[in-house]
Amino acid sequence: METKMKKQRFGARFIKNFWRELEKDNLALVTVVLLIALFLFIVIGQFFVPSNIGTMSDILNANLPPMSGGHILGTTDSGADFILTLIASAKNSIIIGFGVAIIITVISVVAGMIIGYFGGWIDWLSMRIIDFWLIMPLIMILAIIFSTAKGLSIWNLILILGLTSWPASVRLVRTLTLSEVNRDYVDAAKISGTPWYKILFTGIFPNISPTIISDFALTLATSIGIETSLTFLGFGLKQGTNSIGMMLTVLSQNSASTIYTQWWLWLPETIVLIILTVGVVILGQVARRASDQRQSVS
């Protein structure tokens, strides 16, 4: 009963703090509004996207300039409506970002807290593995794995990214846990016989969650970036899957003068990509500030 009340209070306080942070920071307010607008646009736009948009080829209507043939931003090189392609691509980016961020956050919270809590040889061994993996060139390893797979489905890509990109987050959670483990409340819980998993998830986790929230947002944005970059180089999603990286290949396929004069080929998806990645990171920062008790009290 009492814990439930506390949780409600926390939720309400979080929303109040969140608005207060947004009021203080005009830029964050603008980004969050843009991000929400983009989300709504994608969600509503979903209903107009034909299911074959990735694989269709309508050569007669391909590469139309904006404002022609009933297409506001023209058509892509496969003849699909540009805006609808962009919506489908942005949706895939968001799915990939969330998918990878969820996998990595679950791995890092569970593993990082256990490593930090128990210490000893578990800590020594896992830190050696993590340090080793962190200096490896992840983007090159991913490029090799992706290129050998000859084009991935979204879910395989999420799985591979999630299972390879966790070390930095695990290390972060471990550091956070280490700073909590020696506090009095943990000692008190240990002495009173609370099992370790309860100490971890009801004691330590709420205290380190603000930073985990912003790390989640950062991972989300980074994953979108990695997928877009590698798909752009040709080592990512398989042909026929809509992706902002795939759309941006127009940049490498055309000459500089074409890119300069035909801005509509690359500018819209670049803007969407920027709003998406920057917006998510800034949203994460605001959420961290809003949920960090120590900062909001002062």
Partner: protein, 321 residues
């Protein structure tokens, strides 16, 4: 000090071993074998089996690994069969190495110059407009995939304001070394400048919060109370203390050079190791891929070693441990 370095070098041996296993496993992942593309499709299966046997491809994995590592130690990395057909991989890498090194060094220097000046500006004017702008700038450059910026810079400085050459390295073996060197600098500058401009975030954030931490320390207040100008406190105390942790990052910055060069070199048409890697992946030239990965793995370990040595050198507290 020397004992610290020696111990750190000894740690590198198992690490090198691990890297080689990792790369060998990645190489196994790639479809096809060294005869890929060289075989006559009409060869009879027995001939193919004989060739595979001669190359040791029918042996168990651990034996193949030992053979492979043995050849690597003797400097035999195999022959390319797509990027520069018939060339040995060592020759290809040697021809591509200098452009990447020159670009990497300029990029590293500029990154530190940009990041340090941004952080100093930010910390001196905390919460003022310039600080806000720099924070937002670094958030944007770190969140958005950098290849987008590379394109914008290329359109801007190669097409709209054509002050930089479009593609190539400017290296000409028929010219004298100095001519070749300076002409290469002209080609290397734009990609290096672009990489540096958009990768300041981690050093900037770290140095900025270090500077702010140091500014709030008691010794700064004491010095200010004694009448020392804020400029002098900055120069003599704050900078020195805040820079210590940054110095150790220099080694680690080597780690990411090739990964970043992949995009910069491909987009700016600057044929170094990064572009070679992309070319090799696209044409499935596995001997070249494996060799580049080995080089990168070695560089990464070297960077880690350098970082640890630098931090032990500048901060005696680490040595005691």
């Amino acid at each position: 000090m020397w004992r610290t370095i020696l111990r750190r070098v000894l740690i590198m041996i198992p690490q090198l071993f691990l890297v080689s296993i990792l790369i060998f496993m990645l190489a196994q992942l790639m479809p096809g074998d060294p005869f890929y593309g060289n075989l006559n499709p009409n060869s009879d299966p027995a001939t193919i089996a004989r060739m595979r046997h001669a190359a040791g491809l029918d042996q168990p994995l651990y034996q193949q690994y030992i053979h492979w590592i043995d050849r690597v130690f003797h400097g035999d990395l195999g022959t390319s069969y797509a990027v520069n057909k018939g060339w040995t991989v060592t020759r290809i890498i040697a021809s591509r190495l200098w452009p990447t090194i020159s670009m990497g060094i300029i990029a590293a220097i500029l990154t530190y110059v940009f990041a340090i000046s941004e952080a100093l500006l930010s910390a001196r004017h905390e919460n003022k407009t310039i600080d806000r702008i720099l924070m937002v700038w670094n958030t944007i450059t770190s969140a958005v995939p950098s290849f987008v910026f590379y394109f914008l810079m290329m359109i801007l400085f190669v097409y709209l304001i054509p002050i930089f050459p479009a593609s190539g390295t400017g290296i000409d073996d028929s010219q004298s070394f100095t001519t070749s060197f300076f002409s290469n600098l002209r080609y290397a500058f734009l990609p290096a400048f672009t990489i540096a401009l958009f990768s300041t975030n981690s050093i900037f954030q770290y140095l900025r919060s270090n500077l702010l931490d140091q500014q709030a320390q008691d010794y700064v207040r004491t010095a200010r109370a004694k009448g020392v100008t804020i400029k002098d406190v900055f120069r003599k105390h704050i900078l020195r203390n805040a820079f210590l942790p940054i110095a150790s990052g220099i080694g680690y910055s080597i780690t990411g050079v090739l990964g970043g060069a992949m995009f910069a070199e491909t987009i700016f048409g600057y044929p170094g190791i990064g572009a070679l890697f992309v070319q090799a992946l696209t044409s499935r030239d596995y001997t070249v891929i494996t060799a580049v990965m080995l080089l990168q793995g070695f560089l990464a370990l070297l960077g880690g070693l350098l970082s640890d040595v630098i931090s032990a050198w500048v901060d005696p507290r680490i040595r005691v441990k």
